[in-house]
Amino acid sequence: MEILSPEEIIDGFKKALGNSFIDSKIYEQEVAVKKNVFRTIWVYVKREAFRKAVEHICKLQEYPHLAIISSSDLGDSVELIYHFTIYYGHHLEEISLGLRVNLPKNDLKIPTITDIIPGALFTERETQEMMGVEVVGIPDSRRLFLPDGFPEGVYPWRTDETGPQDILRVLPGRKQK
């Protein structure tokens, strides 16, 4: 496994995904006294090529490290970012890779990656219950953090009408923001 530079990694993605590759961004920052560089790559792909992108990452690094899946409510779509890191184990060489996928709100489905990376189970379950995204093919789709009596159809991270506005516990005498 050779260590590529950020620009070479992005070129590799463009070749592997073709039209489904939408955009990319590199972020670099110098840290502390010795001014070593801290690098992050953001890659934006279409939903159809999502699994191919994950398999491409597995070619760059044998067991890529998936930290978490974060989700944002952008009004009429939901954006998921899969935070990977590659080239761990080498001093100053690790690169963070954020894989961005956009899902329209009338079709919130995304394929699972637990067959490639078994450790993604908890974070996919959390995305399912908190944002209302359906993960197709997940082996265990029970709720993770919310209690059993929590009302169905209420998704805590959404900012639209399915948010938890009605079940808040506001202190007496305090206006809700």
Partner: protein, 143 residues
Amino acid sequence: MSFKSFKRALWVYHLNTGSCNGCDIEILAVLTPRYDAERFGIMLVGSPRHADVLLVTGPVGRQMVPRLKRIYEQVPDPKMVIAIGGCGLEGGVFHESYNLAGPIDQHIPVDVYVPGCPPRPEAIIEAVVKAWVKLEKVEQGVS
């Protein structure tokens, strides 16, 4: 009203209703050799049926309400309840969350409140002593 000596040792049971563990660590620090409450006879027990005093920490999450009530009923009379930490008083920093079911005294009666986030071990010892004095008064029939 002064007491010459306490008639017996005090056994406490600790219950965590969903706290961040800051208060739990300070409770445990009370029993270690630095503050050493065990030399006064205050002992932590593993079952609520042996306890005299219930120490409750944490904002009460929705799942923990039935457990809180059940453990309160298992502690035999006469008993005291101490609510430790700002979360038990009115939710603390989490006061507007969608998963909280109210402060502790909406579910069980509380005798001593200890504010702080987390309160210092000295404050917890003072709270236990206050509860002890109150318990002895109740046992002697003094109101």
